[in-house]
Amino acid sequence: MITFDDVSKSYPNGHQALSHVSLHVDAGEMIFVTGHSGAGKSTLLRLVGLIERSTQGQVIVGGQNLGKLSPRRVPYYRRRVGITFQDHRLLTDRTVFDNVALPLVIAGYSHRETGRRVRAALDHVGLLGKERHLPESLSGGEQQRVGIARAVVNRPAVLLADEPTGNLDPELSREVMRLFVRFQQVGVTVLIASHHLDLIRQMGKRILSLQSGRLATDSGQPLP
């Protein structure tokens, strides 16, 4: 589903965030990316979500070589990838419902279909009763779940989550992780960046660890 072939990424300021990373993720797999702050976890996710483009090597997602995608096609690619952010990135002046509906509004779904899907997504994350609330009135864990509902509302094949348990207590963190497992169980390929090593070891999934932009270990397969 996701293939990195000798991928490097330097930001315009010259900083090399990823160096010569090669990896493969099967469809329907759930995988954790870990490493210290600044190791390049977010950058890796942003390359898959096509928020950034690699400066070297090829990123291939669902058979599509992202380097060959024209800027005009980028929005349509993004609609097929769900993504959550560490800082949630919710619209503070919109209700929970409107926030979750955003990807559907963008994709041009009908009113009725949008309402149906938004309620289904909110039901998944256990926030069905909060659709009329503003994000500010919710706890950090609830805001994260709104973000997750928004990421899956369009039923993407790939789900990317950047530090989804950032500042949640251990119990809430496990709850959020169980939520991701449920998406994996219905066939979604899930990629989670997290520096909570203890927590992710408990999940029993494949773990990639990055060190200064290089792939250090991969629990799934021995490094060449």
């Binding site: 928020i51 349509y76 619209l91 990807p103 963008i106 094949a157 066939g187």
Partner: protein, 330 residues
């Protein structure tokens, strides 16, 4: 993405063209209404901007209307301009009167006043300020003059209204009379006024260009500031697959609304000016046999203002959003 078929894609072929079109229409209508709603939520800022645009549009429009008024009044003057026919000195008063009679029966002539040689001299003495010199002359050197009033109606073969010398055929015919020494229009001053009106028209055009540019910049700047306030929303929308067209759409509608509202404001301004000046202008026109009325409130002017305002609004917003989108290109 191989495994899960995209539901929207999978359903797309089944949806008819009509359904697609109506979905598209609904989307636009929603954005149009919501952007108008957004404007009404900040009534102060909206009315200030609208008024600014309205005044900028009304200025060249009112100048244009004024010039049109002058033109129309001049067209009436044109027709009331008289032709002076200077007769040869050997034509005596009796012959001059007979000639006057004959000319007054021409179809293109309304009336003829005969100025006898004695009357011409008396007039000259009064108006020239050289009475002594005139008195010292033995013989009257002045010819008799026919003051010919052309028919006020549209003269066959005349040019467009406002073209001096339109009834030039009449002048030629009068000059060709064997008794005549020459014939001329008393219209030097009409020509001057026309030059001034032309200058006014030119000024209105230049002003329309300059103030149109000002309206464009006002709307572009307003759009730019709205974008600044909604950067998060744009950024997040783009992360979830919003196209440039999707991002642009609400701003284009806001720009369109500003332009249209400004056009309506300009129209109302013109209407107010028309109410203030309409009476005097109509009376002035009536004096010259014209039924001209100030056209400030006319549907044509209104449509032009609203359409022009709307186009400028669209263009201004387009420029601002495109600039922004280029700058944030991922």
């Amino acid at each position: 993405m191989t495994r899960r078929a995209r539901p929207a894609r999978a359903r797309a072929p089944a949806r008819g063209l009509l359904e697609h079109f109506s979905a598209w229409l609904t989307r636009h209508a929603q954005v149009a209404v919501s952007s108008l709603g957004q404007l009404t939520r900040t009534p102060g800022a909206t009315s200030m901007t609208t008024l600014l645009i309205g005044i900028a549009l009304a200025l060249p429009a009112s100048l244009h209307v004024s010039v049109e008024s002058v033109r129309a009044v001049m067209a009436a003057w044109d027709r009331s301009t008289q032709v002076s026919v200077f007769l040869k000195t050997e034509v005596d008063d009796r012959k001059a009167a007979a000639l006057g009679e004959a000319v007054s029966r021409w179809p293109e002539v309304d009336a003829v006043h005969v100025l006898t040689r004695a009357e011409a001299l008396a007039e000259y003495r009064t108006f020239s300020g050289m009475g002594e010199l005139v008195d010292s002359l033995d013989a009257n050197p002045l010819p008799a003059v026919l003051l010919v009033q052309p028919h006020p109606g549209p003269t066959p073969g005349s040019g467009s209204p406002g073209t001096p010398g339109a009834p030039g055929a009449l002048v030629d015919r009068l000059a060709a009379l064997p008794e005549a020494d020459g014939a001329q229009f008393d219209l030097e001053w009409v020509r001057r006024l026309q030059a001034i009106a032309g200058l006014g028209e030119r000024t209105a055009t230049v002003l329309a260009g300059a103030l149109g540019l000002a309206v464009l910049l006002v709307i572009a700047n307003t759009t730019r500031m709205t974008i600044q306030g909604r950067r998060d929303e744009i950024e997040i929308s783009k992360l979830f697959g919003a196209t440039d067209a999707f991002v642009r759409r609400p701003f284009l509608y806001t720009g369109l609304w500003y332009g249209v509202l400004g056009g309506i404001a300009a129209w109302l301004c013109l209407g107010a000016v028309g109410l203030a000046l309409g009476g005097p202008v109509a009376r002035l026109a009536a004096l010259y046999g014209s039924d001209f009325r100030l056209q400030g409130m006319g549907a044509g002017v209104g449509a032009a203002l609203v359409l022009g305002g709307g186009l400028l609004g669209l263009l201004g917003a387009w420029l601002a959003v495109s600039r922004y989108l280029r700058a944030v290109k991922p």
